[in-house]
Amino acid sequence: MSRRLALPYAFWMALFVVAPLVIVLFYALTTEAGGFGLENFIKLQVYVPVFLRSLWLAFIATVLCLLIGYPAAYILSRETPSVQNSAILLMMLPMWMNFLLRTYAWMSILEDQGLINNLLRSLRLPALNMINTQGAVVLGMVYNYLPFMILPIFTIIQKIPPSMTEAAQDLGANSRRVFRRVVFPLSLPGVLSGVTMVFVPSVSTFVISKLLGGGKQLLLGDLIEMQFLGGAYNLHLGSMISIVMMLIVLAGIQIMNRFGSREEVALP
């Protein structure tokens, strides 16, 4: 066992992980005309609303996933193992289908001539405008990423030894207090990884906003895609947007990890 075995991979990473980021950084700091500096960064002010919308929608989706996912994970953790196994399997099953197909399915449910509106019409109720709204985009995010919230929280709650909660009960804590003082603090690492796994893809998506937002709810992902492959072709600006987005994501993860390590309690 020699560390030389990692050598091919070290070269691989230098070429396919580090070099691409360096190129993106280089493009971000230069312009078509050959200028060097923060010119592209200043151009970004036009897109501040898009940044805010992206962060806001991803934030709402993450909060909703947490509000739905935590209770679900907690309830699941109290079921018998066989129920747990089938529930987890049922939860993973949709995730194994491509997310484009899952998102596409929502289009036919939400659109103006869609299933919900047809149902409403047959009941003589006024139709709702659901597709191409921010609500539809958030729904798509929650639908696609909810299992990413439930699974890590469930895994970590399950690892909490029963002796811990029993000890708290023996010391006179009621069930609410046991949850607040023992189970919840111990489950925080799961919450943190769930939050990251929902927030990062939500903030960078362009497919969900295209399919369910109809291109009317421009997000950061759309912006980047437009600069690299779409109509607004500008590699320099696209690179700058990518760098800023990457920094936002990394800063978010960093803040959460710090917050997490303070709360973290070592499980035996």
Binding site: M1, Y9, P20, I23, M91, I109, G114, L115, L146, L229
Partner: protein, 292 residues
């Protein structure tokens, strides 16, 4: 009658929150499966409409199986997935062993670099790889070597985003193994290569296999990175699906979803049955041992 029933239940110790909780999780499953159910139903719909039912047909399935774009993309997807899983597993396992024996800053640097593709959003990985490939192809073109974005760049990107997951699943197995096994093999006269192949590799095999499986599924499922790195000569299935959703027409997409759902379901059931059987065997083995 109903009143006493309710009272009985509450007394007999089935606490209300449990039932409410089950209702809650049940609703989540309805939410998760409703769209899939709708797709399956409308894949048999005898009209182009995605929402109005007008009779049963299987013609979308027939059309799907004749669609050469879809079949070609399926072939591309599977070959990229198999090749990238294979290469990522070999490179990743070797790298994991190398990283495992590293100490100090070297190890930290390797692990941090390894984490970059894992934590960065897929779109960033896709975009940055695209920039690299465009630059590299431009460089090669100077020497008269004209390549375009295509299967090669697709494969390279898939390998790149798969290796980190192989490493992350092999490393824990290596630390579980304990270092004495390898040293014992050397003491007993095995060459380092033989010790690696006959002692270390069998020991970490579960991690290697799960790394390969993760790579395979990630590769099959990927859309974003392929979208930026494949160019227009080779298309993966998710890319074709994306193009289809943009046209908003064909019920073939429902048929495709249904087929995918059924095959995933079958695969999961198969794995579960297999695992249950293995568990049973192990348990029988254990009882046999205790009897002895």
């Amino acid at each position: 009658m109903t009143l006493t029933k309710n009272r009985n239940r509450r007394v007999s110790g089935a606490p209300r929150p449990a039932r409410l909780g089950r209702l809650f999780t049940g609703l989540i499953f309805v939410f998760l499966y409703a769209p899939i159910f709708v797709m399956i139903v409308f894949s048999f719909n005898d009209a182009k409409s995605r929402t109005l039912w007008s009779g049963f047909t299987t013609r979308w399935y027939a059309e799907l199986l004749e669609d050469t774009t879809i079949l070609n993309s399926l072939y591309t997807t599977l070959s990229v997935a198999v090749l990238s899983a294979l290469i990522a597993t070999v490179v990743g396992t070797a790298a994991a062993i190398g990283i495992h024996v590293m100490r100090g800053p070297r190890r930290t640097v390797m692990l941090n670099l390894n984490n970059i593709p894992v934590v960065s959003p897929d779109i960033i990985t896709g975009v940055s790889l695209r920039m690299l490939f465009v630059a590299l192809l431009g460089f090669l073109a100077i020497f008269g070597l004209n390549f375009r974005l295509g299967f090669g760049t697709l494969l390279l990107s898939h390998i790149t985003f798969c290796i980190p997951y192989v490493i992350l699943s092999v490393l824990p197995k290596l630390s579980q193994m304990g270092k004495h096994i390898y040293e014992a093999a050397l003491d007993l006269g095995a060459t380092p290569r033989r010790a690696l192949g006959r002692v270390v590799l069998p020991e970490i095999l579960p991690g290697v296999i799960s790394g390969a499986l993760i790579s395979f599924t990630l590769s099959i499922d990927d859309f974003l990175i392929s979208y930026f790195t494949a160019g227009n000569t080779s298309q993966t299935l998710p890319m074709v699906v994306y193009a289809m959703t943009r046209k908003r027409l064909s019920p073939k997409i429902n048929a495709l979803s249904t087929l995918m759902f059924v095959s995933v379901l079958a695969l999961l059931i198969l794995i579960n049955v297999f695992q249950a059987r293995q568990d049973k065997k192990r348990r029988q083995g254990d009882t046999a041992k205790t009897r002895l």
